[in-house]
């Protein structure tokens, strides 16, 4: 049986009197691609932010590689091997593509002294170029990230998430706003990376075709609680899921 990378245990999150996430539990194994879906307002993003340390759960625990990380700062979580992409564009617009990618990996290398005064590429230029080539962005290497198209920036964002060699990557609506050509490229790259590096993905996505073809297992949230869990085929035919999406 493969090792559990992420374990979410009875996580709840309240905002005043509103319970956005209710007693959610699930595990994700190494190399698995888990989809987290649900209608708008179902608590997906809140749960994501609890896992990522951007929100502290009201109760419950989040374990990454066996370590309880609930409430841990995002920068410390990153050093434990957790990467993420963002729903909104999340590049550094006034830096070049290569500089964005290098920055994404540099905090995992070197001593405090080298961080303070060491060269800005942190010896990562070759690695960053490989990552850029992997995401087929080599022709944009020296362009300012802010000048790229939306879809290209999404690819840069993905490349940044992988640059630190994470064991777990949380992808927040990677397909959102991306055109069909770019979407196919993104999906294919994510699959290839998952297979070649055995990296675990958790994906929030509204694009059902994208999530069903990328994920091996899907968890469905509605009103902050899990209503279904299974393979894409099982989820497609689950009446409770259909009702939740149709408001039944």
């Amino acid at each position: 049986m493969s090792e559990t990378i992420l374990s979410v245990r009875n996580v709840s999150k309240n905002f005043g009197g509103i319970q956005a996430v209710r007693e959610v539990s699930f595990d994700v194994k190494r190399g698995e691609v888990l989809g987290l879906i649900g209608p708008n307002g179902s608590g997906k993003s809140t749960l994501f932010n609890c896992v990522l340390g951007q929100l502290k759960p009201s109760s419950g625990e989040v374990h990454v590689n066996g370590r309880n990380v609930a409430g841990m700062r995002a920068c410390d979580l990153n050093k434990l091997g957790v990467g993420r992409t963002f729903q909104q564009l999340s590049v550094f617009p006034q830096m070049s593509v290569i500089d964005n990618i290098i920055l994404a990996g540099q905090e995992h290398h070197g001593t405090m002294l080298s961080r303070l005064f060491g060269p800005s590429d942190a010896g990562l230029t070759a690695e960053a170029e490989q990552m850029i080539a992997f995401f087929r962005l080599s022709h944009l290497r020296d362009e300012l990230a802010g000048s790229l198209s939306y879809g290209q920036q999404k690819l840069v964002d993905a490349a940044m998430a992988f640059m630190a060699g994470p064991s777990l990557v949380l992808l927040d609506e990677p397909a959102g706003g991306v055109n069909l050509t770019m979407l196919g490229n993104l999906k294919e790259r994510l699959k290839t990376y998952n297979e070649s590096h055995d990296t675990t993905f958790v994906v929030i996505e509204h694009n059902m075709e994208f999530v069903m073809s990328l994920c091996s297992r899907i968890v469905v949230l509605a009103e902050g609680a899990i209503i279904a869990e299974g393979t894409p085929d099982e989820i497609r035919n689950n009446q409770q899921v259909i009702d939740a999406y149709l408001g039944g």
């Binding site: 995002a74 590049v91 540099q106 905090e107 005064f117």
Partner: protein, 292 residues
Amino acid sequence: MPEFIQIMISGLSAGSIYALAAVGFTLLWQASQTINFAQGEFVMLPAFFVLALMSFAGFPLWLAILAAIALSVLLLGAIFKRLIVEPMISHGTLPLVIATIALGLLLKEAVKEFYSPLGQPFPSLFPQEVFVVAGASISIPDIANFIIAMGTIIALQLFLQRTRTGRCMQATAQNPDVAQILGVDVKRMVLYTFLINGALAAIASVLITPVYLAKFSNGEVLGVVAFTAAIVGGFNQIRGALVGGLVIGVVDNLSAIYFSAEYRQAVPLILLIVIILVRPQGLLGTAEGRTV
């Protein structure tokens, strides 16, 4: 022509010192959305640290300057951030602006009350000599001030562009949420920015005060000049603040000689209004979109 050269060099010298204050102003805005209206007083105060250390502790000038820079980094950097910025920033930009205005008044009145309401002579760092080039008399302090101020800004720019910490500070300024997720210790980067601003203010102070005397009211002019320089050059660019400072210094000097010495302080403000109307992002700044 010789007179014009003299005015230009003198203007560039003063402008490079204004640029130090303006760069600090810009850095704080970029890293933490802090608009520090006490920046003028931040430039006024370190000169009094130097005078106090020389008078009361018997420090030689060079040691007093080093100690004043260290004190400024601590008090105008770390303590300012901890006691004023951190508690106020969560309430929004406006309360913090008001708090910095209040801090400026407090510092000004404190110096007036506890040190002296009178202008104090401040030792010059360089020989008060002039040399003649193409008929123009160039003063050594003007040249030395320009070299030190520009050298400081170039060193800062190299630090920001060529070191990992500098890159992390840029990332924090451009997108703090993403920087945090990528492992950057955003709080520490913001602290570094405040420490750098404290040092820049102290360097500007020891360069400009021999020209103006040490007066509790120096911050009034310097604060307006730093703010104006930052806006004129571009609030979101260090090189913009640099250009803004130089432009203000030159325009200020030119207007004093060729327009009116009485109204010289109005000229940068007119420039500010023109820039805001014609090019609100500043000469070198980039337009920023904000979701409201």
